[in-house]
Symmetry: C2
Subunit: 210 residues, 2 copies
């Protein structure tokens, strides 16, 4: 079997083990067994438990960012349609790969090199969303939406999406379900889109006394 | 000096140390010195580093929940006014106590007993927000907003607020600034309120093809 196939099997098994048991408790013996290979082969290919975990983190970061990028690829759509597709792609991905997402969640708290990968991924996703909201503001002829405001809104949207993904995964033991991913994306669109649209067309929510 | 004053000084110093250096790297020597007491006195009062950290986590959890509760106390206000006050109270608190918030952030990743305290706090805050959204739906005469939908929206709102608080604190080294807390709360209201209001009055955002 070619090395890349073997490596993929090892990573698949490792993602499940790290997601379910955590970095410390995950066992290299169990990972090798689940991958159907010997433990020395795991060390030969992936060097160490630390390197194996890092390889899992990088693969799952790449897969998540690719899903969001693919979802927001069609620049000729209106901003709400792009956002809708991006969110649908995001929730479909998190529903289909709960273990992959759990690895990223664990990596955030697993010390420096791992946390940095996840932080960089978050910056990348916030950047995609910021560009999207910037375009939406421009489409709406709303040049005066300050950079600070767009950045704040992008962080709010990403935080809401993360929290919803965790909530959706905690509720369902079902496997990937694209209709429930759409429900979750629609919940978030309902939550935010009309608000964003009003803001961008110059009708912000008004604090009392203004 | 009464014991409770001394203990408060120890916790104040410990929150700063844990927030800035993390649980492992924070030094009991430095904490004692910053609190102006001897290290044996810290151990006499707080038992161990673990117990000291837990005391910090519990104090900061209590303070954050109290701030949100206080902000959403006035039941005779409309739901958007209550939400506005609750968010303003939340962001004022997180801006005024960045180290306290950082301790909670670190506690999430510091193993079981600590992570459980923060998870319980999150459940409590989600419960407050869920009740608020439930009331808003009722006020709007919108009985059919499903429990699932309200729960999802509450998780989205709490995730957005957490993400915004972190973003706001990372941008500003200024000390507590109530006007910037209001700006942040207004950003989130803009982001979500009109969306929620439309949803509750039976005008949801429509996915393409519906």
């Amino acid at each position: 079997m070619p090395r890349e196939v073997r490596e993929r099997q090892m990573l698949d098994a490792a993602v499940v083990a790290f997601a379910r048991h955590g970095y410390q408790a995950a066992s290299m013996d169990d990972i090798a067994e689940a991958a159907g290979v010997s433990k020395p082969l795991v060390y030969l290919y992936l060097k160490s438990k630390e390197d194996l975990f890092m390889a899992c983190v990088r693969r799952e970061v790449g897969a998540l960012v690719a899903a969001v990028r693919e979802g927001t690829r069609e620049r000729e759509l209106t901003a709400d349609q792009q956002l809708w597709r991006g969110l649908t792609a995001f929730f479909a991905h998190t529903a289909a790969r709960p273990d992959g997402v759990a690895v990223l969640y664990r990596a955030r708290t697993q010390g420096e090199p791992f946390a940095r990968e996840v932080a960089a991924m978050r910056v990348e996703i916030v950047t995609i969303v910021t560009a999207l909201l910037g375009q939406a503001a421009q489409d709406a002829g709303c040049g005066e939406l300050a950079e600070r405001e767009v950045s704040g809104l992008a962080h709010a949207l990403v935080g809401a999406a993360e929290s919803l993904a965790e909530w959706a995964n905690s509720r369902s033991c079902a496997s990937a379900d694209s209709s429930s991913a759409k429900d979750t994306a629609a919940t978030l669109m309902n939550f935010c889109w009309a608000g964003l649209e009003n803001l961008m067309t110059g009708r912000p929510w008004m604090a009392p006394g203004h």
